[in-house]
Symmetry: C2
Subunit: 210 residues, 2 copies
Amino acid sequence: MKIGIIGSGHMGSALGRIWGRNGHDIMFSSRHPSELEGLAKSIGSNAGYGTPQEAARFGEVILLAVPWGQAGDVLSSIVPLDGKILIDCTNPIKKDLSGLELGQNTSAAEEAAKRALGASVVKAFNTAFADVMRSGSRVFEGHRATGFYCGDDQAAKAVVSKLIDETGLEPVDCGPLHSARYLEPVTGLLLELAAKEGMGTNMAIALLRR
Amino acid sequence: MKIGIIGSGHMGSALGRIWGRNGHDIMFSSRHPSELEGLAKSIGSNAGYGTPQEAARFGEVILLAVPWGQAGDVLSSIVPLDGKILIDCTNPIKKDLSGLELGQNTSAAEEAAKRALGASVVKAFNTAFADVMRSGSRVFEGHRATGFYCGDDQAAKAVVSKLIDETGLEPVDCGPLHSARYLEPVTGLLLELAAKEGMGTNMAIALLRR
């Protein structure tokens, strides 16, 4: 398959290298194509380099792997893309990692905190299926499912972390209550998989480390 | 610890049962408290039942486990909650599971699709750290990290699924491109953990099944 890589930073180069070694034809690209010669040569004769426009013309599949802030301009410069597949791996993360630049504006937890006068609100358990909590174990093939939680009161979080641990989930502190904007969509994902993709509710999300 | 359970459906009853068996004092509650007698008795003398107001007064920790649509009214009926910890496990999921009722309005992928004229856009790889893709393996303690992807063109998704599989990630189809609204916040979560919670980038999200 012919794959054009738009943006050849850590992600673009890593994926291009994997696919190139797997026998696909790769064209890396950036605004400074000559800097990509070494990368292409390290893979072999099935890898080349060029401008984003050249990579877009070349690829049947195009990987969009530029920083989010550049995505709009780059796309405008490579359209039309008739009949091509565009893999978008961008993330609209703010530069200071304080949130997403688009698509999000509040969370149920933050709304609850406005109403729960006097209480320290901790978001927890929302990413776990009730069926899993009712079952005999929170362990999946040797891995504990993760109990993500977040909140603005450290002492309250310490209490909740222990309550999570007691259920068998592995507590993972996800920072301030604002992170509920990340945790609630995780459940959106799980429900999509369980109900619409037919995977059922005997599953869980885990943070894997090594 | 005294724990008040607001809403005694699948999640509230499951967590109350676990914590009750662990020796905590539990008060279950609902709008129809008498229906909770059997649940409380099945745990023992450290479990009781009452109205949401009684459970809120009782608990040092309060679990909010009602359907999202009822959360606002219930909270208004139990405040003030001075000095208490409120665990919010609600999710603002639409009844037809078509999205979140608040907090989300678009995604980078949907914005990219507006600009990528002619292309079939598939969201993929955004939940994987480049450091993991550059490393020798996508396996964490025997588990493959998950390669979540979504898009509206089934043929394009079949191609991308294979390309994901080639990288060592386990492809999981997350439905329409709209699901990018779930996948992009996952990366917000991972970056929060990696950068602000100091966990580094040698980690990944996995969907566990059994």
